[in-house]
Symmetry: C2
Subunit: 313 residues, 2 copies
């Protein structure tokens, strides 16, 4: 069975403050609109590697939405699952960097077009062509969206497909109790779990549990493969009877947005396509490194050739 | 009784495309956030002239909203009627000029914080201090907002106050049947009507009726004062037994956004304060001219001194 990956969630435009510490409290210069949204970046990266990629989302009936659809189509993403709605404009994010690691955001997502995505927007024949469903935690911002995720999980699992989950936690979202419940529900069906080093602790009942303990517990609970993203420190892969650690590739950090999404898309695509775990991990790591070295959320996606060249340096 | 003017409606941030014909379909540079929204510009202009000015609106719990409140407060507007809500972000508008007269927009207003403004946000003691209520047609974008307008009209009229109405029509809004009904309702209570030359024809049942006929009919129906804004061609004032036309002041057109709002704010403030109609009209015209000569929606508001200086050139 060939790899066909779908994902569901926010497809938005992003505006980047031109200067560090510019903030949002006085007029300045912003660069944009850039196509953005974690699931959208993920979908574009999957397609860029040459795999079948489908994104389910909603955009507004405006130029931002049209630009996003065209961009994804040009990257090779199947955009038939993207609905244009009149009720709300395309979502947006304003980003201002304080330094390499800290950013300030103003999001318009739950009240934007993609916030209206609901189970009826998921075309079943399109969904039934997919062998894998990837879930971004950042997309679990509304009941409608969580219900859509449930529908997709059910359908994919019925067809013997697999599910991956990148918690992509936004601190401000963890206060929503429904979200914590959604996390528990999704983990039950997760085959490939892709937290960052800092996120893994959200997934333990015990305070101060070690990473190894949490990983062991998750595997006992049924998660088959765990990949921990450590950014500049590399990544780790855990399986019931396997453990693998790789180092990172040194790059100049230009814009971290999208790096984790590119990493996840590359790992999941290659892993499902049958590449050896070590190679999938190395390529994923390189994909993340290439992403941070380019400005703009979706501007850092890489082809297999880009990654091979980068690793051959 | 001293003049105390309130208005209700959108308080948003605006981003201006840096280059002509830049559009929204590829990344470019935008300048912003600028405080914006027709009623907000109006309120700032009233305060800048030295009159009591109150704006009722909602902003999101974000830096854009905070910036807007602080800016209005600095201009002298009473911001006690502005509610910060968590449900939605501060509204926004992206503007790209094609030429001096044509603009492209992407708005996020009805789904933004100010779209949640409803009658319970109108503090009655604050409202009861106002002697005049100004309505912007651009603000009639939701049932909640229209209901709020009704509440304010009722209260102001009960206290023997007056109402002005600037249709500020957005073509895309005229398709909403509720809006047409709201127009009819508001006109019944309107003391000062401030359409632009191009808008007056929306207010006639007869096709191809002349401006004079429409004005006569509106006055017969109870509108006491009509001011028609003609931009670079000046303005006209009509009353049951008076008619007055003034020419415009030549200025370089930099950014037309907000000019009509500044014109209206200046005319209404001075007229209510007892200035002779001709002077109110001249000052309003100068206020509009000064507004177009500055970039940014609220950046072109003028003090009495600014206007006097401009007219003395």
């Amino acid at each position: 069975m060939s790899v066909s990956i779908c994902t569901i969630g926010e497809l938005i435009v992003e505006f980047l403050a031109k200067h560090k510490n510019q903030g949002f409290s006085q007029p300045g210069e912003f660069l944009g609109p850039f196509p953005s949204g974690a699931p959208a970046i993920y979908a574009a990266q999957v397609a860029k590697l040459g795999f079948e990629s489908t994104l389910f989302s909603c955009v507004g009936n405006d130029d931002f939405g049209q630009m996003n659809i065209e961009r994804l189509r040009n990257e090779g993403v199947n955009t038939d699952g993207i609905t244009v709605i009149n009720k709300a404009p395309t979502g947006s994010a304003f980003v201002s960097y304080r330094n390499q690691f800290e950013r300030d955001f103003i999001f318009n997502i739950p009240n934007s077009a993609c916030g209206y995505l609901s189970p009826e927007h998921l075309d079943e024949s399109l969904l039934s062509r997919c062998t894998h469903f990837h879930i971004m935690g950042s997309s679990l911002f509304s009941f409608r969206m969580i219900d859509s995720m449930r529908k997709a999980i059910k359908m994919i699992k019925k067809n013997n497909g697999t599910v991956s989950f990148d918690p992509n936690v936004r601190k401000e979202m963890m206060n929503i109790p429904e979200m914590q419940q959604a996390f528990d529900y999704i983990l039950e069906y997760t085959d490939i779990f892709l937290p960052s080093e800092g996120e893994i602790h959200y997934f333990s009942d015990q305070k101060n549990a070690s990473e190894t303990d949490i990983v062991k517990q998750l595997i006992n609970n049924g998660v088959k493969h765990i990949v921990i993203k450590r950014g500049a420190e590399g990544a780790s892969y855990y399986h019931a009877n396997q453990e693998l650690h790789i180092k990172s590739n040194a790059v100049e950090m230009i814009d971290p947005t999208g790096a984790g999404d590119c990493f996840g898309a590359t790992f999941v695509s290659l892993f499902l396509a049958g590449y050896p775990v070590e190679q999938a991990l190395k390529y994923a790591n390189a994909s993340g490194a290439l992403a941070v070295s380019r400005s703009g959320p979706m501007e850092g996606i890489s082809s297999m050739e880009d990654i091979a060249k980068f690793l051959a340096r």
